[in-house]
Structure formats: structure tokens, C-alpha cells
């Protein structure tokens, strides 16, 4: 599809774990058949708990992990089994904002160097132009020019995340993957960063993939939402459909788990999931969610439900997707 910025087609990333001599080799299906599109200017929220494969998916989209199956089409670049992308071209198309603002900045580089080096690597050699773009980008993320020669340890967590955002945007990418961009920050700082990300999106016409376990954040920023469980997308749709008419019991469980004394979720306590996510090394047969599911039936153990449409643009991988609770 030509008008898509990013298309994943049946993307799978598997790992071989273990040792042939000790215990045998197993296949960990971290991402197992994900199909997704992102239009220019769109924000896709990607929700799931630890072990659901969202970090692996992120690395694959960034071109850092080769797909085992399927293809990634990002800004005209094809990534498939055995075809790795041109790093430089990728860098100008898709960038990433990391979760931990402490580990994601080189402690021995000033802000100026962190922002200017990528420009030089990408062939911008004119000193004045580099300087102008660095200062301009710093201003965009709310940093003052005189802070350019400081080192990361001189900044607070929120300011470091601003530097991380500036670094991601300095090459003018079209798509930015935000991996839990606020969850490592102090609570009173989070709103600043969320507002900044949304402002930059509008100002620069960016697309985002917003990975977060905080559903409040995802609902606030996303146009569309995809929910992952054990390597697969179990539900996707517009933000309103996902949050107001969730059809997969896992989505409902996620929403029910949010403590919000102000607006106790309309979804009943029975929607809560039991137990914990299984290991991706040994996923349950049939629907991976069935051991925790309140709707579990024999069919769920026998067959993995297809990701079928509930309404236009809203799909859920549940045998009982039409049973409204």
C-alpha cells in the first residue's frame, strides 16, 4: 500500500534459546504474525504487558532485529528475511524515544555533540547549518541554547527525556517510535512530556507508535490502538472503539485493572484477568489467553481465533468477539 508510512505484513521474530547440548533448543516466538499499517500523521498506541513482544516488535521496526518471517515496509524500504535495510536511509525515516532517560544518553557527550554528530554523519558538513539545526531543535523541545554544552548528568529526568526527543527528531524522521516515554519519569513531569510529544507531532507532521502500559496515556495520544498478547495482536481499532467497546477479554481486563477512583470503569470486576501471562516459550494451545479468560470455552483451547472484524477498522481475535458484556 503506497499511502502507508509503515506496513507490517505477517511479521514474525523468533529466537532460538537454550543450548543443543543442555536441554535442547527451543523457539521463542516473541512476535508471531503481526500485520499492521500506519498512515502518515497517525499515532498508533501499542499496548501490552511485559513479555507480550512489543519491545521485540519495536526493535524489528527499527531494523535492529531481522524478521524470521513476513516483511516490514517502512517509508519505501523493504525489510524481510535476509534483506536488511540501508541504515542511513532508515535513520532518516524512523527514530526512537527510549524509556529510561538515564541510560539512553551517552554520559560523556554534551547535548550539542549528541545532536550534531548525527547531522554530520548524514552529510551536513556546513558548521553554521549544523549549529542552527541543533539550536532550533533544542528550542523545539524546550531547552535553552546555553544548555548545549552541558552533559546529561547536569539535567533532570524530564530534561533528559527532552534531549532524547530532540535526538530522535534531529534527522527529521517521519515516524517516531516512543517506547514507554514517560513511565520512568516523575509523575509531576509526565504531563509536560506528553504535551510536548503531541505538539511536536502536529508541528512536524509526525507519525508515532506509542508503546505504553499506561492506558490513560494511550487513550489520550492515540488515533488507533493495537493490543498485544504473547506475540500476537489480539485486538485493534480506533481509540474510541478500543476503550468504549472493547471486544477482546484481555483488553477488557487491562481496562478493568486501571485504578481510577474518579471514574470507576463501566466494565465489571468479572472482567479482571486471573493469573499471569504465560511464557512465550510455551504458549497455551488455542487462544493464548484462555487460561486467564473469564469467557473460556472448549473452542478456545482447540483453536486460535482469527483476528476478524467486529466493525469497519475494528478487529478482535476472540471466538466470542460478538458477545457484548
Amino acid at each position: 500500500m503506497a499511502d502507508m508510512l509503515l506496513s507490517l505484513d505477517d511479521l514474525a521474530v523468533h529466537f532460538k534459546v537454550g543450548n543443543a547440548l543442555a536441554g535442547g533448543v527451543k523457539t521463542l516466538k516473541a512476535v508471531d504474525g503481526v500485520t499492521l499499517d500506519i498512515k502518515p500523521g497517525e499515532c498508533l498506541g501499542l499496548v501490552g504487558e511485559s513479555g507480550c513482544g512489543k519491545s521485540t516488535l519495536a526493535l524489528a521496526i527499527m531494523g535492529l532485529l531481522p524478521p524470521t518471517r513476513g516483511t516490514i515496509d517502512v517509508g519505501g524500504q523493504q525489510i524481510g528475511r535476509g534483506t536488511m535495510p540501508d541504515r542511513m536511509e532508515m535513520a532518516r525515516t524512523v527514530q526512537m524515544v527510549f524509556q529510561d532517560p538515564y541510560a539512553s544518553l551517552n554520559p560523556r557527550q554534551t547535548v550539542r555533540r549528541t545532536l550534531a554528530d548525527p547531522l554530520r554523519i548524514h552529510g551536513i558538513t556546513d558548521k553554521a547549518e549544523v549549529e542552527a539545526r541543533v539550536i532550533d531543535m533544542m528550542a523545539k523541545v524546550g531547552l535553552r541554547p546555553e544548555q548545549a554544552d552541558r552533559y546529561p548528568h547536569e539535567f533532570s529526568g524530564g530534561q533528559r527525556q527532552r534531549i532524547g526527543i530532540a535526538r530522535a527528531l534531529i534527522l527529521k524522521p517521519k515516524l517516531v517510535l516512543c517506547d514507554e516515554p514517560v513511565s520512568a519519569l516523575d509523575v509531576s513531569i509526565r504531563a509536560q512530556i506528553i504535551n510536548l510529544l503531541l505538539e511536536l507531532k502536529d508541528e512536524l507532521g509526525l507519525s508515532y507508535i506509542m508503546i505504553s502500559h499506561d492506558l490513560g496515556v494511550v487513550e489520550h495520544v492515540s488515533d488507533r490502538v493495537a493490543v498485544m498478547y504473547l506475540g500476537r495482536i489480539v485486538e485493534q481499532g480506533g481509540w474510541q472503539e478500543i476503550f468504549e467497546d472493547p471486544r477482546h477479554p484481555y483488553t477488557r481486563a487491562l481496562i478493568a485493572a486501571i485504578p481510577d477512583p474518579f471514574h470507576r470503569a463501566a466494565i465489571s470486576a468479572q472482567a479482571k484477568a486471573k493469573g499471569e501471562i504465560a511464557s512465550a516459550l510455551n504458549p497455551p494451545p488455542g487462544c493464548h489467553f484462555h487460561p486467564r479468560c473469564p469467557l473460556k470455552a472448549d473452542l478456545c483451547v482447540a483453536e486460535y481465533p482469527p483476528l476478524d472484524a467486529v466493525a469497519a477498522g475494528h478487529r478482535a481475535a476472540c471466538h466470542f468477539r460478538d458477545r457484548v458484556i
Binding site: 532508515m90 532518516r92 527514530q95 541510560a103 544518553l105 554520559p107 554528530d117 548525527p118 554523519i121
Partner: protein, 276 residues
């Protein structure tokens, strides 16, 4: 940050090493006589006195002046061979840790091999091929004890590799070599400097051992090890022949070890607060 960070070992060690370096650099001005040419059998084996503070040897040469010049050999060997070791070890460790895969297997195998053979025996073999001399010493010692810096570099890269800023550099299109040298190396320099400093002490001892065995600096040129070698038969009758070169080695190696410990204290990432 407290001013005397690193504590007394850093300052005592640094002082001893700085003193040894100054002696080596200014040897022609500090020495009383020429270390080689000023032989005079009339003055043979004079005990320490005002004219010959450390006494004289069997050829009547001033021990003090020979020790002063010997510092040049010991320090040159120590520093030059450690630079070799660090370059080899860091390059191998950095690439092995960063790239992993078959290259990592090869480097790790090689490192383990080097650790399994006593490095002095290895150096002895190289000396036997190259013949005695300063250059041979540097080569022999510089090729045989890089395994520690290699292991440290590799382990540090492995722990840094998953850090966000390394991933960010890859995503920004940095080449692997650029990532290794601009993103990884500056952040692992601390422990490598410590290893190199401690290694210098080891190299000075090895030089002494090789010279003692007759494979190092050839007489009549002075090195602390060859002076000890020459003195070994007379340790009871003419003790100053061995005592003073021995003390020179002792204090220099002690200084290097103290300096290494002190540097470890200030460069250790755990002793510096990460989150300000």
C-alpha cells in the same frame, strides 16, 4: 566532590611513579657518572659512601648512576609494552563484545589460550627467537599479556551494548566502528586505565626476570633486572649490588600498583553517582 578522592594510595602511588619518570627523563643530569663507560677496576666493589652513594660494582661503575639510567629501560619497557597490550586487548575485546558471533568465539578462545600459558614462558619463547635487546623486550612483553584488558573490555561492552544510547546510535546510522570508538570506548576507559597501570608493574617485573635470565638488556648497558642478574653470585659478599636495584624495582612496582588501586577508586563507575 571531596578533594582527596581516591585516597592516599592514589597520591603515594602517583608520587612514586612521577618520581621514577622524572629520574628516567633527567637521567643525564641526575647521574654522577656515565653508567657504562665510567668503569674503573681500581674502584671495584666500594661500599656505599659519600662519593658513591649506592656503592660500586665489580667493574668499579657507580651503582647509583646505573640505577638512574636503568629507570629508562624499566619504564620504557613497562609503558611501551602496556600500550601494545592495551591496543591489542582493547581492539579484540571491543570488537568481540560488540559483534559477538564467531569472532567472539575466536577471540575468547585466544584469550583463554593466553591465560592458560604463563605469559613469562611465552615471552621467553619470543625473546629466544628475537634475541636480547630493548625492542625485543617490548615486543615480547607487549604481545603476551593483553588477555586481561581484552576480557575487561569485552565484559564492559557486553554490559553497555543494551544501553539506550548505544541503540540510539545504531538507529541514527552510526557505523559500528564509530559506535565502538565514540560511544563505547570513552565509557569503559576507566577500568582499562586501571588494568594498564597494574600491568606496567607486572611488565617491569617481567623485564627484571627476563634480564635476570640473561634474555633482556645485554651488559654492559644497565637495566634493573640485568643488574640483579650480575649481582646474584655476590648477594652475601657484596649486598649493595643487589639491594639497590631491588629497591628500585620494589618502589616503582609498588607505586604503579598503588596508583592503579587509587585510579580504580576514582574511575569505578559504582563510586560515581549516576543519578546526580
Amino acid at each position: 566532590m571531596p578533594k582527596l578522592k581516591g585516597g592516599s594510595s592514589l597520591w603515594i602511588g602517583g608520587g612514586l611513579v612521577a618520581f621514577a619518570i622524572l629520574v628516567a627523563v633527567f637521567a643525564p643530569w641526575i647521574a654522577l657518572t656515565d653508567p657504562v663507560m665510567a668503569a674503573n677496576l681500581m674502584n671495584a666493589e666500594i661500599p656505599p659512601d659519600w662519593e658513591y652513594p649506592f656503592g660500586t660494582d665489580a667493574q668499579g661503575r657507580d651503582i647509583y648512576s646505573r640505577i638512574v639510567y636503568g629507570a629508562r629501560v624499566s619504564l620504557t619497557v613497562g609503558i611501551a609494552s602496556q600500550i601494545c597490550n592495551s591496543l591489542i586487548g582493547v581492539t579484540l575485546g571491543l570488537t568481540a563484545g560488540y559483534w559477538g558471533g564467531w569472532w567472539d568465539d575466536v577471540v575468547s578462545g585466544l584469550t583463554n589460550l593466553m591465560l592458560a600459558i604463563p605469559s613469562l614462558v611465552f615471552a621467553l619463547a619470543i625473546m629466544a627467537i628475537l634475541g636480547p635487546g630493548l625492542f625485543s623486550l617490548v615486543v615480547a612483553l607487549g604481545l603476551t599479556s593483553w588477555s586481561f584488558s581484552c576480557r575487561i573490555a569485552r565484559a564492559q561492552v557486553l554490559s553497555l551494548k543494551s544501553q539506550g544510547y548505544i541503540q540510539a546510535a545504531r538507529i541514527l546510522g552510526y557505523s559500528d566502528l564509530r559506535i565502538m570508538f565514540t560511544q563505547v570506548l570513552p565509557n569503559i576507559l576507566g577500568p582499562l586505565i586501571v588494568i594498564a597501570t597494574l600491568g606496567m608493574g607486572g611488565a617491569i617485573l617481567s623485564e627484571a626476570a627476563l634480564s635476570f635470565l640473561g634474555l633482556g638488556i645485554r651488559p654492559p648497558f644497565p637495566s634493573w633486572g640485568s643488574m640483579l642478574a650480575e649481582a646474584r653470585d655476590q648477594i652475601r659478599t657484596v649486598p649493595w649490588l643487589s639491594v639497590f636495584p631491588g629497591l628500585a624495582i620494589f618502589f616503582t612496582v609498588l607505586g604503579l600498583n598503588l596508583l592503579g588501586d587509587g585510579l580504580r577508586d576514582i574511575l569505578d563507575p559504582q563510586s560515581t553517582t549516576r543519578r546526580g
